[in-house]
């Protein structure tokens, strides 16, 4: 956009746009006198038109009455001599002609924005105004848009401002047209912006009579360009609203504060336009559909009945005429390519795209275009019939299926007005494919088939069909397009469930499903999420419930188990005190606890890389020092329970074939790892004794650590980006124990481990991919004692369920700690010692009937227990 010619306000046009040889400027007079004059003229015109209409109606009634009074036979003769019948008829004609003229003129005064040629560049707003025939852009504004501009002038005048600024235009646009809908969709209230806007108004410079500021002039011209770009016939308020928002930095900041950025505003405005376009398109389509035959017969009557085809097919053109097919949004590139291939030589097409990316929508789009007859000549006056493969192959043996297909294709050949659609063509058996290929190569008809990229590579490409099918790719749409598609579908969902969607809900359904659901594709997965969110909201809150972003998040959370709602105060406290909570279960190992806690906090604050697992750690250290205990504690405190931990003992995966146990064998059972993560993507994966796994498995994990995904044996991509992966290893244990005794600092120990001890065990690229390599030091006696206290507390917890109290003396715990500690196995023997000395003694006492409810069991050294009897009730 050009810079303003002068900083002062202007009353004569300072900017212009050149479109189709004409120069468009803003020259609408807005001063008070002009407005008043315009208003008066409007009143006078409306009064005259109204009066003429009333007079014409009176004359019509008069003529009817006079004709009724005179004999039917005498009406004609009455016309030739002075009579009331003749006078009323003549006046009726005269006033009617006057009304006709006025109506035509009103319609003609509605100028239309020139039609933009497909792909034509957008005009630039330039200053000064170029030479040429000038047109007033104001003439291309809808009544409501011009009223909003007039009100902006009145607002500036009321505040005594020196100019009409974009802020004025923005404020007055808020109460017109679809702008309130924009606010509703964004989930914000007028009250949220009222005060700041009022305060801002008071800061604008004051002056005499306001004129249109250069910035506002640009807004008014940009609104025209905006409408022109989108093939609109006139400028509406929504364009003025959007351009005023774009022009004024203050308004943008204000919306930022309400968590609405430019992309959001643009997408909501687009949403409104999509609804308008769908309505316009529907009207046009209905008109065109009136000429399209709905049966097997074409307009030229050259076709024949097609009973065999009808038995296994569905007529898509008939469905389109009946309005049963969904509208197609976007996909101009694919449609263009498709028609180009068809026009080039009538070759058959296979649309290759992932499930849910919109292949069926494209087929529906073709059907719709065929109904409107805006298709290449070869498709004109034709039917689009989809062969339903299950109907063709179901319940019969292969030779009968072939007979059915032959009969259907014979119908197609005779009728000569059928274009076939075959969805999921990879499901065709080889024999059927052979028959179809034969028919297609003889150019009897052509097929629009669909398949997925995997099926294309695995089946279609190697089959005979590849000779006759030309590939047209239908990739998953990008986020913005997917949002527009969902916006176009939401209207139907709103109607079905009687709810109202906010933009936040639409956007989140797309962005979150894109991030967290990898088994299916956009836009289908987002539409499904919206459908479920609408159902949940309508059940919970009744009719006219507002479906917000949090409803979508809740549905996704239920589906995936991944927490994605905003962090609550309670959860914030929990996250900040995570170390403390973990230390409630894990004694010592501060470095490890801190590293894991920080990773979890980063993940929840959404500061982590989204294409890798939440975190990957390598825990090194001797047995029984808390490596597994820490993993369990993380699973319990962050993933909702120890069950969320998927534990794999990698010593069981030592041979090459065990790769298949993890990712599944081709055509066989699902993989243990991939299936577990597919079902529960939000989990902690613990890989014990990692160094013992086969090298091929280590390579497999290289990809998981790096890209956060793994492809299983059936070709499905499994997402690891919501998992924490903890790898434990005993490698270098002897060194760690010696170094700890020698008092080597942890950092130095880690460097030595990485450079020397682990060198022959793990490849450097694998070690580099860990977010953290954490050394677990052998436990000190003091730490073992604390662990003993923890375990004794667990015994007390178990007894509490039986109504029995339990406590241990300090001497008893110390004795247990001493017995249970082994420098080689850490605190692992402690559990066995507690079992042997404590649990056994209590069990015996229970069986002997020495302990009753409410009694207290006291543990003394050497497993001696004393029972303090409770008082009788």
């Amino acid at each position: 956009m050009a810079t303003p010619p002068t900083p002062s306000v202007t009353s004569t046009p300072g900017y212009g746009i050149s479109v189709g040889g004409k120069i468009y400027v803003w020259s609408e007079a807005l001063d008070e006198q002009s407005l008043a004059r315009k208003q008066l003229r409007r009143v006078a015109r409306d009064s005259v038109n109204g009066a003429a209409l009333v007079l014409a109606a009176i004359c019509l009634l008069w003529f009817g009455w006079s004709a009724y009074l005179s004999q039917a036979a005498t009406i004609w003769s009455a016309m030739w001599r002075p009579s009331a019948v003749g006078l009323s008829f003549s006046l009726m004609l005269l006033f009617g002609a006057f009304v006709f003229e006025r109506m035509c003129e009103v319609a003609r005064r509605r100028y239309r924005i020139p039609e933009r040629a497909r792909g034509a560049e957008l005009p630039e707003i330039v200053a000064p105004v170029p030479e040429g025939e000038r047109s007033n852009v104001g003439d291309l504004y809808q009544g409501e848009a011009i009223r909003a501009v007039e009100e902006a002038y009145a607002l500036a005048a009321r505040f005594g401002h020196s100019a009409v600024h974009p802020l004025h235009l923005f404020i007055t646009s808020l109460s017109h047209g679809d702008v309130p809908v924009v606010f509703g969709r964004l989930g914000i209230r007028f009250d949220d912006v009222r005060e700041p806007l009022n305060r801002r108004l008071l800061t604008l410079p004051v002056g005499d009579v306001p004129s249109v500021s250069p910035e506002s002039e640009q807004v008014l011209l940009a609104s025209f360009v905006n409408a022109y770009a989108r093939h609109r016939s006139a400028v509406s308020v929504i364009e003025v609203f959007y351009e005023a928002y774009q022009q004024d930095a203050f308004i943008r900041e204000l919306f930022y504060d309400l968590k609405v950025d430019e992309a959001r505003i643009a997408n909501v405005v687009e949403w409104i336009r999509i609804s308008d376009t769908l309505r316009e398109r529907y009207d046009l389509f209905r008109r065109a559909a009136a000429f399209k035959p709905t049966g097997p017969m074409n307009r030229a009557m050259t076709a024949v009945q097609t009973p065999s085809l009808d038995a296994v097919g569905e007529d898509l053109t008939t469905a389109a005429v009946a309005g049963r097919l969904p509208p197609l949004i976007g996909r101009e590139r694919e449609m263009e390519e498709l028609f180009r291939v068809i026009e080039a030589g009538g070759k058959s097409i296979v649309l290759v795209g992932p499930e849910g990316a919109g292949k069926t929508a494209i087929v529906s789009g073709i059907a719709e275009q065929m109904v409107r007859e805006s298709v290449p000549k070869v498709l004109e006056d034709k039917r689009l019939v989809s062969i339903v493969l299950p109907a063709l192959m179901g319940g019969v043996n292969p030779s009968e299926a072939q007979a059915r297909l032959l009969a259907a294709l014979s119908d197609v050949a005779k009728a000569r007005n059928v274009v076939l659609v075959i969805q999921n063509i990879e499901q065709m058996t080889e024999d059927l494919a052979q028959i179809l290929t034969d028919v297609l190569s003889r150019r009897i008809t052509f097929v629009i088939a669909t398949t997925t990229p995997e099926a294309y590579v695995n089946v279609v490409e190697h089959s005979i069909l590849s000779r006759v099918l030309e590939r047209v790719n239908v990739p998953e749409p990008d986020i913005a397009t997917a949002i527009h598609v969902v916006e176009s579908k939401v209207g139907g969902i709103e109607y079905e469930q009687n709810v109202i969607f906010t933009y936040d809900a639409v956007e989140r359904s797309v962005t979150l499903s894109d991030r967290y659901i990898h088994a299916s594709y956009l836009p289908k997965k987002a539409i499904e999420i919206c459908r479920e969110a609408a159902l949940v909201a309508s059940k919970a809150r009744g009719a006219n419930a507002l479906v917000g972003g949090e409803d979508v998040e809740r549905v996704l959370m239920d589906k995936t188990g991944i927490p994605m709602t905003q962090v609550t105060t309670d959860e914030r406290q929990k996250l900040l005190a995570l170390e403390e909570r973990i230390h409630g279960r894990v004694i010592g190992q501060d470095e490890a606890v801190k590293a894991v806690s920080s990773a979890l906090r980063r993940a929840r604050a959404e500061l982590r890389a989204e294409n890798r697992p939440i975190a990957t750690f390598l825990f090194l250290g001797p047995s029984g020092v808390g490596k597994t205990a820490l993993a369990k504690a993380v699973a319990a405190s962050y993933f909702g329970g120890e069950n969320a931990m998927l534990r794999f003992d990698m010593s069981e995966y030592q041979d090459q074939a065990s790769v298949y146990r993890l990712i599944g064998a081709p055509g066989g059972e699902a993989g243990l790892l991939t299936e577990a993560i597919r079902r529960n993507p939000f989990a902690l994966i613990l890989l014990d004794e990692f160094e013992k796994a086969h090298p091929n498995i280590l390579n497999l994990f290289l990809q998981v650590f790096d890209e956060g995904r793994l492809t299983d044996s059936s070709g499905r991509t499994v997402d690891f980006t919501n998992a924490i992966i903890i790898v434990t290893s005993n490698a270098g244990t002897a060194y760690i124990q010696d170094a700890t005794k020698a008092g080597v600092p942890t950092d130095q120990m880690k460097t030595h481990l990485l450079e020397e001890e682990l060198r022959g065990i793990y490849r450097p690229e694998l070690l580099n991919r860990f977010d953290g390599v954490i050394v677990f030091r052998p436990l000190t006696e003091d730490e073992v004692q604390q662990i003993a206290y923890l375990m004794v507390a667990q015994v007390a917890e178990r007894l509490e369920t039986k109504g029995i109290k339990f406590r241990a003396t300090d001497e008893a715990v110390q004795a247990l700690a001493k017995k249970g500690y082994d420098p080689k196995f850490g605190a692992r023997p402690l559990r066995r010692i507690i079992q042997e000395e404590v649990d056994n003694a209590i069990a015996t006492a229970l069986l002997e009937g020495r302990v009753d409810r409410r009694d207290t069991v006291v543990l003394h050294p050497d497993g001696q227990i004393e029972i303090e009897k409770a008082e009788a009730l």
């Binding site: 009143v43 001599r81 009579s83 003749g86 003549s90 004609l93 003229e101 024949v304």
Partner: protein
């Protein structure tokens, strides 16, 4: 002020009416006639039938079928042609009525008005 404007609109409107009637009004009407005839022809698919005059109907490719088809198509083209012609005549009739209606209305109003007033 408002009365003056109303008067100007009224008088100006009536004075401009004859000019408008035979310039812009005429072009609007002729557009309408053209559109009506085109839509009628689209509705009865006359073009499609003429283009397919020698194409057998219902996929009947034997000689007898071809001959019958040709006959039926000729008959259908005739019937559909009559229908299109009927619409065309109607549209042209409306156009002719448009051409004469304004002078007829003025003359009629003057003739009947003065006649009733003075005789």
């Amino acid at each position: 002020m408002i009365m003056r404007l109303i008067l100007t609109e009224l008088v100006g409107g009536f004075l401009a009416l004859p000019v408008w009637w035979y310039t812009r009004g005429l072009s609007i009407m002729s557009d309408w006639v053209r559109r009506t005839i085109r839509e009628a022809s689209e509705m009865f698919a006359l073009g499609v039938w003429v283009r397919n005059l020698f194409v057998p109907m219902y996929g009947e490719t034997e000689w007898s079928g071809k001959i019958i088809s040709f006959g039926v198509r000729i008959a259908m083209i005739f019937v559909r042609g009559v229908a299109v012609a009927f619409w065309t005549v109607l549209a042209l009739g409306a156009f002719a009525a448009y051409l004469v209606s304004l002078p007829l209305a003025v003359i009629g109003a003057l003739y009947h008005g003065t006649g009733l007033l003075f005789f």
